[in-house]
Amino acid sequence: MNDAAKTTIGTITVAEPVFSCRNVDVYYGDKHAIKNVNIDIGRKQVLAMIGPSGCGKSTFLRCLNRMNDTIVGARVEGAITLDGQDIHDKRQDVVQLRARVGMVFQKPNPFPKSIYENVAYGPRIHGLAANRGELDEIVNQSLRRAGLWEEVKDRLNQPGTSLSGGQQQRLCIARTIAVNPEVILMDEPCSALDPIATARIEDLIDELRESYAICIVTHSMQQAARVSQRTAYFHLGDLVEVGDTNLIFTNPQAKLTEDYITGRFG
């Protein structure tokens, strides 16, 4: 790894960031998976993270809601602040953090419960609804915002696994927004879906951007260009370049970024 790649090219800061990450390093045992990453994540916009497989996109994403805590041997160093508060602070409860920072996974993973219970699960464990009526309302609203309500309103009691892949992924998004987070992290949310289901999710991301900060990892350059306002390019654990999506895709500054988005490797 040459030294030039270690400084990120582009603008890492944004006005009033929701997340601010400074000098973040992640190790899996001896393996240095994320190297000195600095980046801000803005409100009400979509940040796309791209880069070849194994470059650390998922690892970095998992830093933001401390999901790396669940991995034995994983170690995160550096400062990550959410609304100015260090998420690794002793006073920071990880349960609270994850309620504020939701996550959608690569493979749809609905719980083995009914559609209703899938969405109601988060509000229940966080005590967000005082009574059944309020819970119904949250479930209804979340399914509507995830664009799933019309398709499932007559079958809320059927198992979540009975839905199609694309519907399951929207159910997982509904489940995430049901706890009313500030940030939604998405790790390749469309890679297991067909093009039509993918298009629906992309539309949904565009709508959700009006209320949430969204970080999405994607392998599709077109998807990054379509849904995001900012793009970050990772390479072998380094954050190589970050900037406006338009600029990154039309006029990349780093050679590595250019090679990647023009398809010279990937």
Partner: protein, 462 residues
């Protein structure tokens, strides 16, 4: 040659045939260099020759071994002196018994009647001739087949296909043996049970509340209809199984949860094999443990609390049986819990669920069908378990729900009914088959349901 030596000789002949066939196939294509012109490998040609050489001849030998006694007896009967032929059928059976004993060398010929000795001599003579003929026939068959097949080996003979068909047939026969044996066992149980139900009405057996089969031995008391009411046995079995499950399910399940979700890998790698060792302890050792340790312990404990505990209490048997089943439950539950995809746990954690919330509400929920299936399998084991209850549960057919009293179970009664000298058509003995049938049906149903549930669950995550 005796048939056993003959069989060995035929195997040797087949081996020679193998070598001949193999060499011939190579010779046909002009040595090892022409091997690519052969349809099959040389070994296949060898096997084909060996099979043709050995199988028909072996079949002939086996058929003869199966029928030889009947054939020889029939031949001898035809030329017996008139005084023997005029014997009553009972006496004739005795005569044949003597004859066979002399032939087998169990009795010296000098100790039996001259007629018997003569017949035995004749039997041995005929047997000798038959053996000679059999040997000649088998060898002729084998050698002719070997030569014919060898002569027909060409480069394009599809030896591999034929050999594989024969091997497939043999495998099929083996599985047929297992299936037929099972069917035979079931049929014999059903048959004997039907005979029992011919003597004791099925509703008396299934719903009667008084069990005392001993009375039926005395001819004048047969038919006292309360004697074969099996309800106390069913109740005893249920009581002991329930106690066992009360022990095994919570302990097994919780240890599985600990092992699968909490234990560091070091602890897991020690505890899991240890639990599986428990499963390997012979049940008679558990029974021993129940009689010598748990039973007396419960008794003293009961006395100190002012309770009277029977020496052979349902509680002691149930507790020990429960311990026996723990590894069964825990290893099945552990499999089911570890089969729950990590992505489900991640999904719950990402929503802010704590570890125990995740386990309770997501992991166990997902593993539940599999765990239920495992518990059903465990129940069917508890119901069928014999040794522990024979040693620890006692014989008194009490109809009680009090675990401190002695009860008896279906399996214990089957054992007591069949141990010792029995007449095979008394209701007492036949009752064992009826009990066996009930046991079989119950465990079969439980197993079918359990396997269905487990399979259904496995499919869900593929």
């Amino acid at each position: 040659m005796t048939p056993s030596i003959l069989i060995i000789a035929l195997l040797l002949l087949s081996f020679i045939a193998y070598q001949l066939g193999k060499a011939r196939s190579l010779a046909v294509v002009g040595g090892a260099r022409g091997i690519r012109n052969l349809h099959s490998l040389p070994g296949h040609y060898g096997l084909l020759t060996a099979l043709w050489c050995g199988l028909p001849a072996l079949l002939v030998v086996l058929v003869w071994v199966a029928v030889q006694d009947q054939v020889l007896i029939a031949l001898i009967s035809a030329q017996l002196p008139p005084e023997v032929r005029s014997l009553s059928s009972d006496q004739f059976v005795l005569f044949l018994n003597d004859l066979r004993n002399v032939v087998a060398g169990n009795i010296p010929a000098s100790q039996v009647s001259p007629a018997t000795a003569a017949a035995a001599g004749e039997y041995l003579r005929l047997q000798g001739i038959a053996r000679l003929a059999l040997t000649a026939l088998a060898f002729a068959l084998g050698i002719v087949a070997m030569l014919v097949v060898r002569g027909r080996i060409r480069a394009d003979l599809r030896a591999r296909n034929s050999v594989e068909r024969v091997l497939e047939g043999m495998l099929f026969l083996c599985s047929l043996v297992a299936v037929l044996t099972t069917i035979g066992i079931i049929l014999s149980v059903v048959f004997e049970a039907t005979r029992f139900f011919g003597i004791v009405p099925a509703q008396d057996f299934l719903f009667g509340t008084k069990w005392s089969p001993q009375m039926a031995i005395r001819a004048d008391q047969v038919g006292s209809s309360g004697a074969f009411g099996a309800v106390p046995l069913f109740a005893g079995t249920l009581l002991i199984s329930a106690i066992a499950m009360l022990v095994a399910v919570p302990i097994g399940l919780f240890s599985a949860i600990y092992l699968a979700e909490y234990a560091p890998s070091k602890v897991r790698s020690v505890v899991k094999p240890l639990l599986e060792v428990l499963a390997g302890v012979p049940t008679v050792v558990y029974g021993f443990f129940a009689v010598t340790t748990v039973g007396p312990l419960l008794r003293t404990a009961g006395e100190s609390m002012g309770l009277s505990v029977a020496g052979e209490s349902a509680l002691a048997a149930g507790l020990v049986m429960g311990i026996m089943i723990i590894p069964f439950v825990s290893s099945l539950a552990d499999d089911m819990i570890t089969a729950v995809p990590q992505s489900l746990r991640d999904g719950a954690y990402a929503l802010g669920a704590t570890r125990s919330e995740t386990i309770k509400q997501v992991v166990l929920r997902a593993a539940l069908p599999g765990i239920v299936g495992g518990v059903l399998l465990a129940i069917s084991r508890a119901i069928g378990e014999t040794m522990i209850v024979v040693m620890a549960a006692g014989l008194a057919a009490n109809l009680t729900a009090n675990p401190l009293e002695a009860v008896t179970t279906v399996t214990v009664q089957i054992v007591t009914l069949l141990v010792g000298d029995q007449e095979f058509d008394s209701p007492k003995t036949l009752a064992a088959f009826a009990l066996g049938l009930v046991l079989f049906i119950v465990t079969l149903v439980l197993n079918v349901i359990a396997l269905y549930v487990v399979r259904k669950y496995r499919e869900q995550y593929e």
